[in-house]
Symmetry: C2
Subunit: 439 residues, 2 copies
């Protein structure tokens, strides 16, 4: 499938219905930030405040945030803000001095993983975490070949952009990168696990035919940018076995599904009963503070650690660690993983009920508070990207924020903060129902 790099749900300059003030902001952006930045929506949203699941514009209008997975414990959560402020006022320095904070957090975080995953290294972004995983996988395996899904997104460093096909054809994939179809149950025939593993094996065979030694398979464990593929549970296991048999590692990218979003499990990979060699973490880890990390089995880092050091000036600094600790404590104390499960199930049921009255609502995929709703024209295999865009923008006009994704731009990506309530779901569904009636 062609991917010209046009971002789903990007603002097109000159379009939309912007106030004079917002037009001036857009002009300032172009002048100061240049041509590579993008805004969301036909008419971008100008935001000034956030609280819980709500975002507010300059006029005080409230928007229901059903999309931002960074502010996962709620925008501006007071316990997290307090932890950041408290630590920033006392000590903020890095991991080349001894300090307790980063170790307290590392141990608490590792307590949420199977015992085999016993090391964690800290970076500032998910891109940096995946870039480090790339370096470690090469050192450990001696290979260079990586397998990704065909609309994957793993980050923006040079190495990781070259294995993020969703960035479009303007960003070339690496010679050592192979793409495979996403595990789409509608478009893959037979048993999904076997079919997906066969695609991995075919990519391995093609690499070997070209003299490329496999280094790893990396997948977002809920395949977010491919269109949200959450199941059936366990289908990933044969693919992981295939890459291991070829000498490569399995890297679970948990930047989007991790930290309880999937409801039943803390991490997406746990839904599949597999044990990754490395697990990358990012977005929600600091609820907006730039902190990310890479969890790994000790055997994987031995070769890298013997010949290279890793230092990330801000990675694991005391403020990052204190902030991430506060986020983890909120997830635990407010029961947000369980909330994601319960409210996510309620959300999915509500969408299925709406689907009985709106023909454009196709297959729904959901795990906790990560939902992908296909928008179709007629049958499940006929995507309707234009209507998807109208829905996203219609909801924005109704002050409900979501976005769209997938290689056919027809999947509503619904991914609210984990503090979302059933009342918030009702609010969403009511607005959605009204928008569907007119688009």
């Amino acid at each position: 499938m062609k991917n010209d790099g046009t971002m789903v749900n990007a603002y097109v300059p000159g379009k939309g219905n912007l106030s004079a003030e917002d037009q001036a902001l857009v002009a300032r952006r172009v002048r100061a930030l240049g041509p590579a930045y993008r805004l969301f929506y036909e008419t971008p949203v100008h935001l000034v405040r956030g609280e819980g699941v709500w975002l507010y514009d300059a006029e005080g209008n409230a928007y229901l945030d059903t999309y931002n997975n960074v502010a996962s414990v709620g925008h501006c959560h007071p316990a997290v803000v307090a932890a950041t402020a408290r630590q920033a006022a006392v000590f903020a320095s890095h991991t080349r001095y001894l300090h307790d904070t980063v170790l307290d957090y590392a141990e608490r975080l590792l307590g949420h993983f199977p015992p085999e995953l016993s090391h964690v290294m800290f970076t500032c972004t998910g891109s940096e975490a995946n870039d480090l995983a790339f370096r470690i996988a090469r050192a450990h395996t001696g290979g260079t070949g990586f397998i990704v899904t065909e609309n994957a997104y793993h980050g923006v460093t040079y190495a990781i952009a070259a294995m993020s096909p969703s960035l479009g054809e303007g960003v070339p994939l690496g010679e050592h990168v192979r793409t495979i179809p996403a595990p789409d149950p509608l478009r893959m025939t037979g048993d999904l696990g076997a079919a997906f593993a066969a695609e991995v094996q075919a990519a391995i065979d093609d690499m070997l035919r070209h003299g490329i030694k496999p280094a790893g398979l990396i997948v977002d464990t809920i395949f977010s940018s491919d269109g949200v593929y959450e199941g059936p549970k366990g289908f990933l296991a044969p693919a992981v076995a295939a890459i291991r048999a070829a000498g490569g590692v399995f890297i679970a990218d948990e930047v989007q599904p991790g930290f309880g979003r999937c409801g039943e499990t803390m991490w997406g990979f746990q839904r599949h009963g597999v044990l990754p060699d490395m697990v990358s973490l990012g977005k929600p880890m600091g609820n907006g503070y730039p902190v990310a990390g890479l969890v790994m089995q000790p055997g994987v880092i031995a070769a890298f650690g013997a010949k290279a050091r890793y230092f990330n000036t801000f990675g694991g600094n005391a403020v990052a660690a204190a902030t991430a600790m506060a986020v983890l404590e909120v997830i635990e104390s407010e029961g947000l993983q369980e909330n994601a499960r319960v409210v996510g199930d309620y959300f999915a049921q509500g969408l299925r009920d709406l689907g009985k009255r709106h023909d454009c609502l196709g297959p729904l995929r959901a795990a906790g508070l990560f939902l992908g709703q296909d928008i179709i024209a007629g049958d499940a295999l006929t995507p309707d990207a234009a209507r998807t865009s109208r829905i996203v923008n219609g909801l924005r006009e109704a002050r409900v924020l979501i976005s769209a994704t997938g290689p056919r731009s027809n999947v509503l990506k619904i991914r609210p903060p984990l503090v979302f309530s059933k009342a918030n779901v009702d609010h969403f569904l009511q607005a959605f129902d009204q928008v569907l009636a007119r688009v």
Copy 2:
């Protein structure tokens, strides 16, 4: 010169004189963080608090910080901490919504650059900024070849680690990377500017002979990890002309010298009267908050912007922008660039005076509060790495923090927060004098 990757001033496990408590922390680090992390000093420092130029250990002992260039306006500066806390409590989200904070900061920051450098893009780390520069330079020039100095450090992403020879031979350089000697006036013969440009030209010629089209020359404008080479002013200009003539761009890495540290100018490149195509920023930009950026001439980003988008989830978020704005306001309102010039000159004079009484003090290089002091045995060309290490660790025992650098591990790297006072210099010089007398 061989570089086995041993980090200068790294703690060697099992050595040093650690308390039982600190030994336990070291053991926890190894268990939780794995083998790729390093601590400073023969006996690592366990820190719990920072204020201004002072860092404090768990027993309340004060250490004079003469090394950390991240906390550039002073550890835990109250105005910066307040800005972070204030913005984090109100709105923390990203650049795909309109918000004023990032634009206010972008414009204020660009006001400190020549008008040709009129775009800025935001990342979280200097590594990400240089990685983005790498991608943009390739898109703009159509080339792939990069030139760096032989002990350069530009970051830790895969692409940038492959052009950071100071990481040692365990981290291979890219096939498309050429290293040139640092502009060391002791070891380069003839006019330094002409000699350095000749090295750049030789690297270009070698690339072309191998079918590699040059993309760029990137230098830290004070050559920090090469041993601190600040002058003579203007010597960089012929090298910049050489890479431009070959179709490549010039990238000024200001992660270490930038934001007023060099005293006379805000940016290191301004000392040389050159106009970079891109300028990368990092460490001191947020005084510890993970924020970094890339400033550029619009012509350079046109090709990249036409076919690729760039989004960094945390880069330029509202809290990052508010924090960086506070840092810039402190630099301006407290006159820290001028302080760096005045106190830096005083510091350099004090070191020169000490040099009259201590034969091991060789050539000194200084620009503002960035000083490199060679430690020698007999003549200026004979480095004394062992004594350098004894000095660094002797000062640490005297509770004065610095480190060492350079390909021969014999350069004291002195780089205090910019709020350093003449009284702080006197404190340093007194401790230094005593340590020199016994090592």
